[in-house]
């Protein structure tokens, strides 16, 4: 009996380990691509800008929202590299401060959604009883309506603000993870190593977290990376409507909204934050795509 036990445990572990090794080994392919490398560099720079915003922006107090009326609506120049907005605030500093909410808000939304959605998906996939069905019904209900609409409705209930916008976006976001993980778990739970673990008398939670979780982690990580771009856009969509960050704080969506009336003459007020958002989102998308291709053995 004791021998059998170690044999099965080793089998289970080996299967899990091999699975992981094969996948992560292929990551090396990823960095050989020029576009993925470039995207990674852009992302690292944006992270650094967001982290060290007070030290690297030329006018940190304007980035936080102090007005500077005598220099309002100046075009890009050597004093203000990206021009100034209607209150005379330096656009470069504003964009750097605005990256904090976009980047950390986006990460916060996606990570929280995964932290809520993945355990529920594991549970619903492994137990197809009443609790699992109930979870999946709730998920289906959420996925039956547009996520943006749910986000808008919830942020109207919670009231405007940058953290309520983030909460309002987490709520329609987690069911996507639950559905992904549930599907994955259903497809692997009859594999030999899971059966072996069950035969050895391991508890449900042990099997779920020690044997199933490591094997569904790859698609979850890919999905997290692919979701960061849409999450940043979703934050922008809410703050553009005035449901997210409130002035005078800096936020890219809000800044585009503030610049929209001046688009014909002082175009930089709306175009600069919009371009920043576009570049960061496209970098996330290209990096996530490259990672998906590298991990997906079929291509």
């Amino acid at each position: 009996m004791a021998d059998n036990r170690t044999l099965y445990t080793d089998m289970a572990r080996a299967a899990a380990r091999e699975h992981r090794q094969v996948r992560w080994f292929e990551l090396k392919r990823l960095l050989k691509r020029k576009s993925a490398g470039l995207a990674l560099i852009i992302l690292c720079m944006t992270f650094a800008a967001a982290l060290f915003a007070p030290w690297i922006s030329p006018y940190p107090e304007q980035g936080r929202g102090d007005v500077n009326v005598e220099h309002r609506l100046l075009p890009p120049s050597s004093d203000y590299y990206l021009g100034t907005d209607i209150y005379g605030r330096d656009m470069l500093s504003r964009v750097i401060f605005g990256s904090r909410i976009s980047i950390f808000g986006g990460i916060c939304i996606v990570i929280s959604a995964a932290l809520i959605g993945v355990p529920l998906g594991l549970w619903a996939g492994y137990n197809e009883g009443v609790s699992g069905t109930l979870i999946m019904r709730v998920v289906e209900l959420f996925l039956s309506f547009p996520s943006t609409l749910i986000g808008m409705a919830i942020s109207l209930i919670l009231g405007a603000g940058w953290y309520t916008a983030i909460i309002a976006l987490i709520i329609p976001w987690w069911p996507w993870y639950t559905r992904l993980v549930q599907g994955e778990v259903v497809s692997i739970k009859h594999m030999l190593y899971v059966e072996a673990a069950r035969m050895l008398g391991y508890g449900r939670l042990t099997i779920i977290f020690r044997h199933l979780l490591p094997n569904i982690l790859t698609p979850v990580i890919v999905m997290i990376l692919l979701d960061l771009g849409p999450a940043i856009i979703a934050i922008g969509l809410l703050s553009f409507l005035g449901l997210g960050t409130q002035a005078p704080m800096a936020d890219w969506g809000l800044m585009v909204w503030e610049g929209a009336p001046n688009i014909l003459n002082e175009w930089w007020i709306a175009i600069v934050p919009g371009t920043a958002m576009f570049i960061v989102v496209i970098a996330f998308n290209i990096f996530g795509d490259a990672l998906k291709d590298a991990l997906d053995s079929s291509t």
Partner: protein
């Protein structure tokens, strides 16, 4: 098939009931006193109390729910807008045709263009053209819709001067050649009344908003068509058809494409709601008097009945579009069981 249809329609009705129930609880959990908002600024307490009784807000939640559902189902009554002081349903009916024109063209061009680009880039996959398409689709799905709309205005109005900035028709034409109200769809109305000057003017005004709406769905559809087609081309039946000597273009455009379109159809269905949500932003930036403009004005002035009506409508369109694509997929693709 009949069983499948019955199942789908039951699901649809259940979802619509769930939607209206959720919207009911949504309106009841909104911050602020609805009765006070209904009456307007600086009302006396007794006036607010009367409004509360008039709106049925003094009754228990279950009674309110019953009343709300009865009105919604039998009278299509969504309340009176706090901003325009007209029934929300009437407002919506008036605005729907204007948005529908934009959504229709955007969906049509996104579908045709997306499938076309996807097919061509899958046929030439691995070439520089395919690489360029990949970059384009990445950009198309990454660009925030409001930024794209502003960018189009800046480039095509301010710099090139090719298209008008905003609105639905030039203001002087509104007086010389007013659009007769027959169906509410300005393009049909101008055509059947022979008002060609207004027709071309409306068409010209529509180019930029439609372009802004279609870029995102175009990218998604092109990308999905490409990957779906490449996946189908690796299957065994293609190999056996190739072995039996069928020429490569026929293999690709006939056998391959037919089998690849089913997942594309799902995305086209989802794009309806995507474009509808995008009209919120595009119509506001282009000052187009449709549903999106109405929704955004409602959100910004906290016009709760209007927001409720919009949420009900967008949710219902999304659910119905999904059900229809499901049925259509089933019809064109017998493999789905």
């Amino acid at each position: 098939m009949i069983l499948f249809l019955a199942k789908r329609f039951t699901g649809l009705i259940l979802l619509l009931v769930a939607l209206s129930t959720l919207v009911f609880f949504f309106t009841r959990s909104l911050p602020g006193d609805v009765a006070a908002l209904y009456i307007g600024g600086n009302a006396k307490p007794e006036q607010i109390e009367r409004a509360r009784i008039e709106l049925g807000l003094d009754k228990p939640l279950v009674v309110q729910y019953k009343r709300y559902m009865e009105r919604l189902i039998f009278h299509a009554d969504m309340g009176v807008s706090l901003r325009t002081h007209r029934p929300v349903f009437q407002d919506l009916l008036e605005k729907i045709p204007m948005s529908f024109e934009l959504v229709f063209w955007a969906l049509l061009f996104a579908t045709l263009g997306g499938v076309f680009i996807g097919v061509i880039s899958a046929y030439h996959h691995g070439t520089p053209f395919d690489g360029a398409v990949k970059w384009f689709t990445s950009a198309a799905v990454s660009i925030p819709i409001f930024f794209l709309a502003l960018l189009l205005q800046l480039i095509f109005f301010n710099i090139l001067g090719w298209f008008p900035l905003q609105g639905r028709i030039d203001s002087f034409l509104e007086f010389t050649h007013p659009i007769a109200h027959v169906t509410g769809f300005s393009m049909i109305d101008t055509l059947i009344t022979g008002n060609f000057q207004a027709f071309f003017n409306v068409l010209w005004h529509m180019v930029l908003p439609v372009a802004a709406l279609l870029v995102g769905p175009l990218g998604i559809i092109a990308r999905l068509t490409r990957s779906s087609l490449l996946e189908v081309m690796q299957q065994d039946f293609i190999l056996s058809a190739r072995a039996s000597g069928i020429s490569e273009p026929v293999l690709f455009f006939y056998y391959g494409l037919r089998n690849a379109l089913s997942p594309v159809l799902t995305v086209i269905g989802l794009s309806v709601a995507l474009i509808l949500m995008a009209t919120f932003y595009v119509e506001m930036i282009f000052n187009w008097p449709g549903i999106g403009f109405y929704a955004l004005a409602g959100i910004m002035s906290l016009d709760y009945p209007a927001i409720t009506g919009i949420a009900l409508m967008v949710g219902a369109i999304y659910v119905v579009a999904n059900t229809l694509t499901d049925i259509l997929r089933r019809v064109i693709d017998p493999r789905i069981k």
